[in-house]
Symmetry: none
Subunit: 248 residues, 2 copies
DNA sequence: TTACTTCATGCGGTTAATTGCAGGTTTTAT
DNA sequence: ATAAAACCTGCAATTAACCGCATGAAGTAA
Protein backbone atom coordinates (compact mmCIF):
# COMPACT_ATOMS: atom_id res chain seq x y z
CA UNK A 1 0.00 0.00 0.00
CA UNK A 2 1.27 3.43 -0.89
CA UNK A 3 1.96 6.02 1.74
CA UNK A 4 -0.58 8.52 0.44
CA UNK A 5 -3.18 5.82 0.18
CA UNK A 6 -2.56 4.73 3.73
CA UNK A 7 -2.79 8.23 5.09
CA UNK A 8 -6.05 8.83 3.29
CA UNK A 9 -7.41 5.70 4.87
CA UNK A 10 -6.25 6.87 8.29
CA UNK A 11 -7.98 10.23 7.93
CA UNK A 12 -11.10 8.47 6.83
CA UNK A 13 -11.07 6.15 9.80
CA UNK A 14 -10.32 8.88 12.31
CA UNK A 15 -13.19 11.00 11.07
CA UNK A 16 -15.44 8.01 11.09
CA UNK A 17 -14.73 6.87 14.64
CA UNK A 18 -13.49 10.11 16.23
CA UNK A 19 -10.57 8.15 17.57
CA UNK A 20 -8.08 5.54 16.48
CA UNK A 21 -5.37 3.47 18.11
CA UNK A 22 -1.95 3.14 16.55
CA UNK A 23 -1.88 -0.53 17.41
CA UNK A 24 -5.19 -1.19 15.65
CA UNK A 25 -4.08 0.58 12.51
CA UNK A 26 -0.79 -1.25 12.48
CA UNK A 27 -2.56 -4.60 12.58
CA UNK A 28 -5.17 -3.65 10.06
CA UNK A 29 -2.90 -2.16 7.43
CA UNK A 30 -0.13 -4.59 8.24
CA UNK A 31 2.67 -2.14 8.70
CA UNK A 32 4.82 -1.46 11.74
CA UNK A 33 3.59 0.85 14.47
CA UNK A 34 6.52 3.13 13.71
CA UNK A 35 5.14 3.72 10.27
CA UNK A 36 1.72 4.46 11.65
CA UNK A 37 3.23 6.84 14.14
CA UNK A 38 5.12 8.62 11.41
CA UNK A 39 1.91 8.91 9.43
CA UNK A 40 -0.03 10.22 12.41
CA UNK A 41 2.68 12.75 13.17
CA UNK A 42 2.66 13.99 9.60
CA UNK A 43 -1.11 14.26 9.55
CA UNK A 44 -1.07 15.99 12.90
CA UNK A 45 1.51 18.42 11.56
CA UNK A 46 -0.81 19.11 8.64
CA UNK A 47 -3.56 19.73 11.24
CA UNK A 48 -5.69 16.98 9.82
CA UNK A 49 -5.94 15.12 13.11
CA UNK A 50 -4.97 15.47 16.75
CA UNK A 51 -2.16 13.18 17.77
CA UNK A 52 -2.31 11.81 21.27
CA UNK A 53 -0.40 9.21 23.21
CA UNK A 54 -1.56 5.86 21.87
CA UNK A 55 -3.31 7.01 18.73
CA UNK A 56 -5.15 10.02 17.37
CA UNK A 57 -8.41 11.95 17.71
CA UNK A 58 -10.42 13.72 15.07
CA UNK A 59 -10.40 17.49 14.98
CA UNK A 60 -14.12 17.81 15.60
CA UNK A 61 -13.86 15.69 18.69
CA UNK A 62 -11.41 18.05 20.28
CA UNK A 63 -13.49 21.10 19.47
CA UNK A 64 -16.56 19.51 20.93
CA UNK A 65 -15.79 20.90 24.42
CA UNK A 66 -16.21 24.49 23.45
CA UNK A 67 -19.16 23.70 21.26
CA UNK A 68 -21.04 21.89 23.98
CA UNK A 69 -20.46 24.76 26.36
CA UNK A 70 -21.93 27.30 24.02
CA UNK A 71 -24.44 24.73 22.99
CA UNK A 72 -25.83 24.12 26.44
CA UNK A 73 -25.67 27.81 27.16
CA UNK A 74 -27.93 28.45 24.19
CA UNK A 75 -30.12 25.57 25.23
CA UNK A 76 -30.48 26.98 28.69
CA UNK A 77 -31.55 30.27 27.21
CA UNK A 78 -34.26 28.49 25.24
CA UNK A 79 -35.43 26.73 28.37
CA UNK A 80 -35.40 30.00 30.30
CA UNK A 81 -37.60 31.69 27.71
CA UNK A 82 -40.13 28.90 27.88
CA UNK A 83 -40.12 28.91 31.68
CA UNK A 84 -40.67 32.65 31.91
CA UNK A 85 -43.95 32.31 30.04
CA UNK A 86 -45.37 30.41 33.03
CA UNK A 87 -44.82 33.25 35.48
CA UNK A 88 -47.67 35.73 35.90
CA UNK A 89 -47.93 38.99 37.80
CA UNK A 90 -48.39 38.57 41.52
CA UNK A 91 -47.15 35.02 41.69
CA UNK A 92 -45.06 33.59 44.49
CA UNK A 93 -42.19 31.72 42.87
CA UNK A 94 -39.79 29.24 44.48
CA UNK A 95 -36.51 28.47 42.73
CA UNK A 96 -33.40 26.39 43.30
CA UNK A 97 -29.99 27.49 42.08
CA UNK A 98 -28.07 26.24 39.09
CA UNK A 99 -27.08 27.75 35.81
CA UNK A 100 -30.42 27.14 34.14
CA UNK A 101 -32.17 29.09 36.88
CA UNK A 102 -29.69 31.92 36.41
CA UNK A 103 -30.70 32.10 32.77
CA UNK A 104 -34.32 32.10 33.85
CA UNK A 105 -33.59 35.08 36.08
CA UNK A 106 -31.98 36.96 33.24
CA UNK A 107 -34.87 36.23 30.92
CA UNK A 108 -37.51 37.75 33.18
CA UNK A 109 -39.29 40.67 31.49
CA UNK A 110 -38.81 44.02 33.19
CA UNK A 111 -42.51 44.61 33.70
CA UNK A 112 -43.10 41.40 35.63
CA UNK A 113 -44.22 41.96 39.23
CA UNK A 114 -43.71 38.87 41.34
CA UNK A 115 -42.12 37.57 44.52
CA UNK A 116 -39.23 35.16 44.27
CA UNK A 117 -38.02 32.90 47.07
CA UNK A 118 -34.59 31.35 46.85
CA UNK A 119 -31.65 30.24 48.91
CA UNK A 120 -29.27 30.44 45.99
CA UNK A 121 -26.81 33.30 46.16
CA UNK A 122 -26.18 33.62 42.41
CA UNK A 123 -29.90 33.42 41.68
CA UNK A 124 -30.69 36.02 44.34
CA UNK A 125 -28.05 38.23 42.83
CA UNK A 126 -29.74 38.07 39.45
CA UNK A 127 -33.22 38.65 40.84
CA UNK A 128 -31.90 41.62 42.77
CA UNK A 129 -31.12 43.44 39.55
CA UNK A 130 -34.70 43.15 38.37
CA UNK A 131 -36.71 46.35 38.90
CA UNK A 132 -40.05 44.87 39.93
CA UNK A 133 -39.29 41.63 41.65
CA UNK A 134 -39.42 41.19 45.38
CA UNK A 135 -36.73 38.80 46.55
CA UNK A 136 -36.96 36.75 49.71
CA UNK A 137 -33.80 34.99 50.76
CA UNK A 138 -34.18 31.66 52.50
CA UNK A 139 -31.59 31.65 55.24
CA UNK A 140 -29.49 28.85 56.69
CA UNK A 141 -26.05 27.38 56.37
CA UNK A 142 -24.45 28.20 53.06
CA UNK A 143 -23.26 25.22 51.07
CA UNK A 144 -20.02 26.27 49.42
CA UNK A 145 -20.28 23.77 46.61
CA UNK A 146 -23.72 24.63 45.39
CA UNK A 147 -23.83 28.21 46.64
CA UNK A 148 -27.24 27.69 48.16
CA UNK A 149 -28.47 27.66 51.73
CA UNK A 150 -29.21 24.19 53.09
CA UNK A 151 -30.37 22.72 56.36
CA UNK A 152 -33.34 22.37 58.64
CA UNK A 153 -34.13 26.05 58.94
CA UNK A 154 -34.20 26.45 55.18
CA UNK A 155 -36.45 23.42 54.83
CA UNK A 156 -38.93 24.63 57.45
CA UNK A 157 -38.98 28.13 55.93
CA UNK A 158 -39.79 26.64 52.57
CA UNK A 159 -42.57 24.60 54.09
CA UNK A 160 -44.11 27.80 55.49
CA UNK A 161 -44.40 29.17 51.99
CA UNK A 162 -47.38 28.42 49.80
CA UNK A 163 -45.88 29.11 46.41
CA UNK A 164 -47.78 29.20 43.13
CA UNK A 165 -44.97 27.66 41.18
CA UNK A 166 -41.57 26.10 41.83
CA UNK A 167 -38.79 25.92 39.26
CA UNK A 168 -36.33 23.11 39.82
CA UNK A 169 -33.13 22.99 37.87
CA UNK A 170 -32.41 19.27 37.95
CA UNK A 171 -29.29 17.24 37.36
CA UNK A 172 -30.88 14.00 36.33
CA UNK A 173 -34.36 12.87 35.38
CA UNK A 174 -35.47 9.46 34.31
CA UNK A 175 -38.88 7.91 33.73
CA UNK A 176 -38.10 5.04 36.11
CA UNK A 177 -36.26 6.79 38.92
CA UNK A 178 -37.79 10.23 38.64
CA UNK A 179 -35.63 13.20 39.62
CA UNK A 180 -32.34 12.24 41.22
CA UNK A 181 -29.38 14.18 42.56
CA UNK A 182 -26.05 13.55 44.21
CA UNK A 183 -26.19 15.98 47.11
CA UNK A 184 -28.21 15.00 50.14
CA UNK A 185 -28.91 18.55 51.30
CA UNK A 186 -30.08 19.63 47.88
CA UNK A 187 -32.40 16.66 47.73
CA UNK A 188 -34.09 17.73 50.98
CA UNK A 189 -34.46 21.25 49.65
CA UNK A 190 -36.04 20.17 46.41
CA UNK A 191 -38.42 17.84 48.18
CA UNK A 192 -39.56 20.68 50.42
CA UNK A 193 -40.04 22.92 47.43
CA UNK A 194 -42.13 20.35 45.64
CA UNK A 195 -44.27 19.97 48.74
CA UNK A 196 -44.77 23.72 49.13
CA UNK A 197 -45.67 24.54 45.61
CA UNK A 198 -48.94 24.29 43.74
CA UNK A 199 -47.15 23.65 40.48
CA UNK A 200 -43.79 21.98 39.97
CA UNK A 201 -41.79 22.86 36.87
CA UNK A 202 -38.63 20.95 36.03
CA UNK A 203 -35.95 22.57 33.90
CA UNK A 204 -33.45 20.24 32.28
CA UNK A 205 -31.32 20.25 29.19
CA UNK A 206 -32.03 17.17 27.13
CA UNK A 207 -28.58 15.79 27.89
CA UNK A 208 -29.69 15.24 31.48
CA UNK A 209 -32.92 13.55 30.48
CA UNK A 210 -32.82 9.79 30.99
CA UNK A 211 -29.88 9.91 33.37
CA UNK A 212 -29.88 9.04 37.04
CA UNK A 213 -27.85 9.88 40.11
CA UNK A 214 -27.62 8.32 43.53
CA UNK A 215 -30.27 10.07 45.57
CA UNK A 216 -33.95 10.27 44.75
CA UNK A 217 -35.80 13.57 44.92
CA UNK A 218 -39.25 12.58 43.68
CA UNK A 219 -41.16 10.51 41.18
CA UNK A 220 -42.04 11.60 37.70
CA UNK A 221 -45.68 11.81 38.69
CA UNK A 222 -44.87 14.58 41.20
CA UNK A 223 -43.85 16.84 38.34
CA UNK A 224 -46.37 19.07 36.60
CA UNK A 225 -44.32 20.54 33.79
CA UNK A 226 -41.09 19.50 32.10
CA UNK A 227 -39.12 22.01 30.07
CA UNK A 228 -36.20 21.11 27.85
CA UNK A 229 -34.68 22.83 24.85
CA UNK A 230 -36.40 20.30 22.60
CA UNK A 231 -39.83 20.69 21.07
CA UNK A 232 -42.64 18.99 23.01
CA UNK A 233 -43.13 16.52 20.16
CA UNK A 234 -39.65 15.07 20.48
CA UNK A 235 -39.79 11.30 20.86
CA UNK A 236 -37.31 11.42 23.70
CA UNK A 237 -39.99 13.11 25.81
CA UNK A 238 -42.94 10.98 24.74
CA UNK A 239 -42.87 8.71 27.77
CA UNK A 240 -42.96 11.69 30.11
CA UNK A 241 -45.94 13.10 28.28
CA UNK A 242 -47.62 9.74 28.63
CA UNK A 243 -47.12 9.92 32.40
CA UNK A 244 -49.29 13.01 32.44
CA UNK A 245 -46.58 15.65 32.53
CA UNK A 246 -47.04 18.75 30.47
CA UNK A 247 -44.09 19.15 28.11
CA UNK A 248 -43.08 22.61 26.95
CA UNK B 1 -9.69 4.47 26.39
CA UNK B 2 -7.23 7.20 25.47
CA UNK B 3 -6.20 9.69 28.09
CA UNK B 4 -7.40 12.72 26.14
CA UNK B 5 -10.64 10.97 25.42
CA UNK B 6 -11.16 10.25 29.07
CA UNK B 7 -10.41 13.80 30.05
CA UNK B 8 -12.82 15.09 27.44
CA UNK B 9 -15.49 12.88 28.90
CA UNK B 10 -14.73 14.17 32.37
CA UNK B 11 -14.99 17.79 31.30
CA UNK B 12 -18.25 17.03 29.62
CA UNK B 13 -19.67 15.34 32.67
CA UNK B 14 -18.51 18.06 35.02
CA UNK B 15 -20.12 20.73 32.90
CA UNK B 16 -23.25 18.68 32.60
CA UNK B 17 -23.76 18.06 36.30
CA UNK B 18 -21.78 20.91 37.82
CA UNK B 19 -20.15 18.44 40.16
CA UNK B 20 -18.63 14.98 39.93
CA UNK B 21 -17.19 12.42 42.32
CA UNK B 22 -13.88 10.70 41.62
CA UNK B 23 -15.33 7.41 42.80
CA UNK B 24 -18.24 7.60 40.35
CA UNK B 25 -15.95 8.43 37.46
CA UNK B 26 -13.62 5.62 38.40
CA UNK B 27 -16.47 3.13 38.30
CA UNK B 28 -17.96 4.46 35.13
CA UNK B 29 -14.79 4.67 33.08
CA UNK B 30 -13.32 1.62 34.71
CA UNK B 31 -9.96 3.00 35.70
CA UNK B 32 -8.45 3.40 39.13
CA UNK B 33 -9.33 6.40 41.26
CA UNK B 34 -5.69 7.41 41.12
CA UNK B 35 -5.95 7.87 37.40
CA UNK B 36 -9.10 9.93 37.82
CA UNK B 37 -7.40 12.04 40.43
CA UNK B 38 -4.46 12.64 38.14
CA UNK B 39 -6.83 13.62 35.35
CA UNK B 40 -8.76 15.97 37.59
CA UNK B 41 -5.57 17.56 38.81
CA UNK B 42 -4.36 18.09 35.27
CA UNK B 43 -7.66 19.56 34.18
CA UNK B 44 -7.71 21.76 37.24
CA UNK B 45 -4.22 22.92 36.41
CA UNK B 46 -5.44 23.79 32.93
CA UNK B 47 -8.25 25.74 34.60
CA UNK B 48 -10.88 23.62 32.95
CA UNK B 49 -12.48 22.54 36.22
CA UNK B 50 -12.23 23.19 39.93
CA UNK B 51 -10.71 20.34 41.89
CA UNK B 52 -12.15 19.70 45.32
CA UNK B 53 -11.74 16.98 47.89
CA UNK B 54 -13.54 13.93 46.50
CA UNK B 55 -14.16 15.16 42.98
CA UNK B 56 -14.46 18.31 40.94
CA UNK B 57 -16.77 21.24 40.23
CA UNK B 58 -17.61 23.07 37.05
CA UNK B 59 -15.90 26.37 36.46
CA UNK B 60 -19.00 28.14 35.21
CA UNK B 61 -20.55 27.79 38.62
CA UNK B 62 -17.96 29.94 40.27
CA UNK B 63 -18.49 33.35 38.75
CA UNK B 64 -17.73 35.99 41.29
CA UNK B 65 -19.28 39.34 41.86
CA UNK B 66 -17.69 42.22 40.06
CA UNK B 67 -15.11 44.16 41.96
CA UNK B 68 -16.28 47.67 41.39
CA UNK B 69 -14.01 50.45 42.42
CA UNK B 70 -14.46 50.90 46.11
CA UNK B 71 -14.32 54.39 47.46
CA UNK B 72 -11.43 54.97 49.81
CA UNK B 73 -10.23 51.46 49.07
CA UNK B 74 -6.84 51.68 50.75
CA UNK B 75 -8.27 53.04 53.97
CA UNK B 76 -10.81 50.28 54.11
CA UNK B 77 -8.05 47.75 53.71
CA UNK B 78 -6.26 49.21 56.69
CA UNK B 79 -9.45 49.01 58.72
CA UNK B 80 -10.03 45.44 57.60
CA UNK B 81 -6.59 44.35 58.72
CA UNK B 82 -7.16 45.81 62.15
CA UNK B 83 -10.59 44.24 62.44
CA UNK B 84 -9.34 40.77 61.50
CA UNK B 85 -7.02 40.75 64.48
CA UNK B 86 -10.07 40.65 66.77
CA UNK B 87 -11.41 37.40 65.35
CA UNK B 88 -10.27 34.19 66.99
CA UNK B 89 -10.79 30.56 66.10
CA UNK B 90 -14.22 29.20 66.95
CA UNK B 91 -15.91 32.58 67.24
CA UNK B 92 -19.45 33.35 66.13
CA UNK B 93 -19.29 36.54 64.11
CA UNK B 94 -22.16 38.78 63.02
CA UNK B 95 -21.59 41.24 60.21
CA UNK B 96 -23.55 43.78 58.23
CA UNK B 97 -22.82 44.45 54.59
CA UNK B 98 -20.98 47.38 53.09
CA UNK B 99 -17.69 47.72 51.30
CA UNK B 100 -15.64 47.86 54.47
CA UNK B 101 -17.04 44.49 55.52
CA UNK B 102 -16.15 43.10 52.11
CA UNK B 103 -12.58 44.12 52.68
CA UNK B 104 -12.73 42.50 56.08
CA UNK B 105 -13.88 39.29 54.42
CA UNK B 106 -10.97 39.38 52.01
CA UNK B 107 -8.48 40.04 54.74
CA UNK B 108 -9.39 36.94 56.73
CA UNK B 109 -6.42 34.55 57.07
CA UNK B 110 -6.93 31.17 55.46
CA UNK B 111 -6.36 29.23 58.65
CA UNK B 112 -9.11 30.99 60.58
CA UNK B 113 -11.93 28.67 61.66
CA UNK B 114 -15.05 30.60 62.57
CA UNK B 115 -18.77 30.92 61.89
CA UNK B 116 -20.04 34.04 60.15
CA UNK B 117 -23.65 35.21 60.16
CA UNK B 118 -24.76 37.75 57.62
CA UNK B 119 -27.69 38.84 55.52
CA UNK B 120 -25.48 40.63 53.05
CA UNK B 121 -25.19 38.95 49.68
CA UNK B 122 -21.81 40.38 48.69
CA UNK B 123 -20.37 39.64 52.13
CA UNK B 124 -21.73 36.11 52.05
CA UNK B 125 -20.18 35.68 48.66
CA UNK B 126 -16.77 36.65 49.97
CA UNK B 127 -17.04 34.44 53.04
CA UNK B 128 -18.06 31.57 50.81
CA UNK B 129 -14.67 31.58 49.12
CA UNK B 130 -12.89 31.16 52.41
CA UNK B 131 -11.82 27.55 53.06
CA UNK B 132 -12.51 27.30 56.78
CA UNK B 133 -15.40 29.59 57.47
CA UNK B 134 -18.91 28.38 58.02
CA UNK B 135 -21.40 30.82 56.56
CA UNK B 136 -24.94 31.21 57.85
CA UNK B 137 -27.21 33.34 55.72
CA UNK B 138 -29.87 35.31 57.55
CA UNK B 139 -32.95 35.08 55.39
CA UNK B 140 -35.71 37.59 54.71
CA UNK B 141 -36.70 40.17 52.12
CA UNK B 142 -33.75 41.36 50.09
CA UNK B 143 -33.23 45.10 50.07
CA UNK B 144 -32.06 45.96 46.58
CA UNK B 145 -30.31 49.15 47.63
CA UNK B 146 -28.15 47.68 50.31
CA UNK B 147 -28.05 44.08 49.04
CA UNK B 148 -28.86 42.77 52.49
CA UNK B 149 -31.83 40.95 53.91
CA UNK B 150 -34.11 43.08 56.08
CA UNK B 151 -37.37 42.61 57.96
CA UNK B 152 -38.89 40.93 60.96
CA UNK B 153 -37.70 37.43 60.23
CA UNK B 154 -34.13 38.62 59.86
CA UNK B 155 -34.38 40.57 63.10
CA UNK B 156 -35.76 37.65 65.07
CA UNK B 157 -33.16 35.30 63.60
CA UNK B 158 -30.43 37.65 64.68
CA UNK B 159 -31.90 37.81 68.16
CA UNK B 160 -31.69 34.03 68.37
CA UNK B 161 -27.95 34.20 67.85
CA UNK B 162 -25.52 34.75 70.69
CA UNK B 163 -22.54 36.05 68.78
CA UNK B 164 -19.11 36.69 70.21
CA UNK B 165 -18.52 39.73 68.10
CA UNK B 166 -20.43 41.94 65.68
CA UNK B 167 -18.82 44.06 63.01
CA UNK B 168 -20.88 47.04 61.93
CA UNK B 169 -19.88 49.02 58.89
CA UNK B 170 -21.45 52.35 59.75
CA UNK B 171 -22.38 55.37 57.70
CA UNK B 172 -22.21 58.00 60.41
CA UNK B 173 -20.91 58.15 63.95
CA UNK B 174 -20.87 61.10 66.27
CA UNK B 175 -20.07 61.50 69.97
CA UNK B 176 -23.42 63.19 70.63
CA UNK B 177 -25.79 61.15 68.47
CA UNK B 178 -23.96 57.85 68.41
CA UNK B 179 -24.34 55.70 65.30
CA UNK B 180 -26.90 56.96 62.84
CA UNK B 181 -28.17 55.79 59.48
CA UNK B 182 -30.65 56.76 56.81
CA UNK B 183 -32.38 53.45 56.15
CA UNK B 184 -35.00 52.36 58.64
CA UNK B 185 -34.63 48.65 57.90
CA UNK B 186 -30.89 48.75 58.30
CA UNK B 187 -31.26 50.53 61.59
CA UNK B 188 -33.44 47.72 62.94
CA UNK B 189 -30.95 45.19 61.74
CA UNK B 190 -27.98 46.88 63.36
CA UNK B 191 -29.84 47.31 66.60
CA UNK B 192 -30.61 43.63 66.68
CA UNK B 193 -26.99 42.81 65.99
CA UNK B 194 -25.79 45.02 68.80
CA UNK B 195 -28.24 43.35 71.12
CA UNK B 196 -27.17 39.84 70.13
CA UNK B 197 -23.47 40.30 70.34
CA UNK B 198 -21.10 40.19 73.28
CA UNK B 199 -18.78 42.68 71.64
CA UNK B 200 -19.68 45.43 69.18
CA UNK B 201 -17.03 46.62 66.77
CA UNK B 202 -17.68 49.64 64.58
CA UNK B 203 -15.80 50.06 61.31
CA UNK B 204 -15.74 53.51 59.84
CA UNK B 205 -13.45 55.52 57.63
CA UNK B 206 -12.49 58.76 59.34
CA UNK B 207 -14.52 60.73 56.81
CA UNK B 208 -17.68 59.37 58.42
CA UNK B 209 -16.58 60.12 61.95
CA UNK B 210 -18.35 63.10 63.46
CA UNK B 211 -21.19 63.03 60.96
CA UNK B 212 -24.82 62.25 61.63
CA UNK B 213 -27.82 60.98 59.71
CA UNK B 214 -31.53 61.00 60.48
CA UNK B 215 -32.12 57.68 62.20
CA UNK B 216 -30.44 56.61 65.40
CA UNK B 217 -28.98 53.13 65.74
CA UNK B 218 -27.38 53.32 69.18
CA UNK B 219 -25.39 55.47 71.55
CA UNK B 220 -21.65 55.70 71.62
CA UNK B 221 -21.60 53.86 74.95
CA UNK B 222 -23.10 50.78 73.29
CA UNK B 223 -19.97 50.40 71.21
CA UNK B 224 -17.02 48.40 72.44
CA UNK B 225 -14.45 49.00 69.75
CA UNK B 226 -14.04 51.65 67.07
CA UNK B 227 -11.76 51.02 64.11
CA UNK B 228 -10.76 53.68 61.60
CA UNK B 229 -7.79 53.98 59.28
CA UNK B 230 -6.24 56.49 61.69
CA UNK B 231 -3.90 55.65 64.54
CA UNK B 232 -5.60 55.33 67.94
CA UNK B 233 -3.77 58.42 69.18
CA UNK B 234 -5.36 60.70 66.60
CA UNK B 235 -7.00 63.69 68.31
CA UNK B 236 -10.12 63.24 66.23
CA UNK B 237 -10.81 60.05 68.15
CA UNK B 238 -9.87 61.28 71.61
CA UNK B 239 -13.41 61.98 72.72
CA UNK B 240 -14.50 58.44 71.81
CA UNK B 241 -11.64 56.99 73.78
CA UNK B 242 -12.72 59.13 76.72
CA UNK B 243 -16.21 57.59 76.50
CA UNK B 244 -14.67 54.23 77.23
CA UNK B 245 -14.47 52.90 73.68
CA UNK B 246 -11.41 50.97 72.69
CA UNK B 247 -9.81 52.61 69.65
CA UNK B 248 -7.77 50.51 67.26
C1' DT C 1 21.97 -0.41 -18.36
C1' DT C 2 24.46 1.36 -14.47
C1' DA C 3 25.66 4.05 -10.78
C1' DC C 4 23.83 7.35 -7.76
C1' DT C 5 20.40 9.66 -4.94
C1' DT C 6 16.18 9.86 -2.40
C1' DC C 7 12.73 8.03 0.14
C1' DA C 8 10.00 4.76 2.84
C1' DT C 9 10.12 1.21 6.00
C1' DG C 10 11.31 -1.95 9.73
C1' DC C 11 14.18 -3.15 13.65
C1' DG C 12 17.02 -2.86 17.97
C1' DG C 13 17.73 -0.21 21.77
C1' DT C 14 16.60 3.62 24.63
C1' DT C 15 13.65 7.00 26.67
C1' DA C 16 9.27 8.70 28.15
C1' DA C 17 4.36 8.27 29.37
C1' DT C 18 0.69 6.03 31.55
C1' DT C 19 -1.33 3.45 34.94
C1' DG C 20 -2.19 0.71 39.13
C1' DC C 21 -0.70 -0.37 43.68
C1' DA C 22 1.37 -0.18 48.37
C1' DG C 23 2.30 2.86 52.15
C1' DG C 24 1.63 6.63 54.93
C1' DT C 25 -0.60 11.23 55.57
C1' DT C 26 -4.40 14.46 55.44
C1' DT C 27 -9.19 15.57 55.34
C1' DT C 28 -13.83 14.75 56.34
C1' DA C 29 -17.72 13.28 58.76
C1' DT C 30 -19.80 11.48 62.74
C1' DA D 1 -12.13 11.63 69.30
C1' DT D 2 -12.34 8.27 65.86
C1' DA D 3 -12.96 5.81 61.68
C1' DA D 4 -13.59 6.10 56.89
C1' DA D 5 -12.52 8.22 52.75
C1' DA D 6 -9.58 10.74 49.89
C1' DC D 7 -5.00 12.11 49.00
C1' DC D 8 -0.07 11.98 47.83
C1' DT D 9 4.45 9.75 46.86
C1' DG D 10 7.29 6.61 45.05
C1' DC D 11 7.71 2.42 42.52
C1' DA D 12 7.15 -1.09 39.11
C1' DA D 13 5.07 -2.92 34.92
C1' DT D 14 3.35 -2.01 30.67
C1' DT D 15 3.10 0.38 26.59
C1' DA D 16 4.14 4.12 23.38
C1' DA D 17 7.40 7.16 21.41
C1' DC D 18 11.79 8.19 19.72
C1' DC D 19 16.48 7.67 17.54
C1' DG D 20 19.74 5.87 14.43
C1' DC D 21 20.69 2.85 11.04
C1' DA D 22 20.33 -0.76 7.56
C1' DT D 23 17.75 -2.37 3.82
C1' DG D 24 15.62 -2.14 -0.28
C1' DA D 25 12.54 0.13 -3.57
C1' DA D 26 11.92 3.89 -6.74
C1' DG D 27 13.49 7.35 -9.37
C1' DT D 28 17.22 9.82 -12.06
C1' DA D 29 21.05 11.14 -14.93
C1' DA D 30 24.95 9.69 -17.65
Amino acid sequence: MLKKERQALIIHKVNLHNKILSSDLSQEINVSEDTIRRDLNELAHMKKIIKVHGGALSKSFHNSFKHTNIYSFENKKIIARKAVSLIKDGMFVLTTGGTTIIELARALPDDLHATFFTGSLPAAFEYMHHPNIEVIIIGDRLSKNSQITVGGAAISKIKEIKADIAFLGVNAIDIENGITDSDWDIVQLKQAMIESSAKVVVLSISEKVNTTMRLKVCNVKDIDVLITELTPENTMLACYAKSGIEII
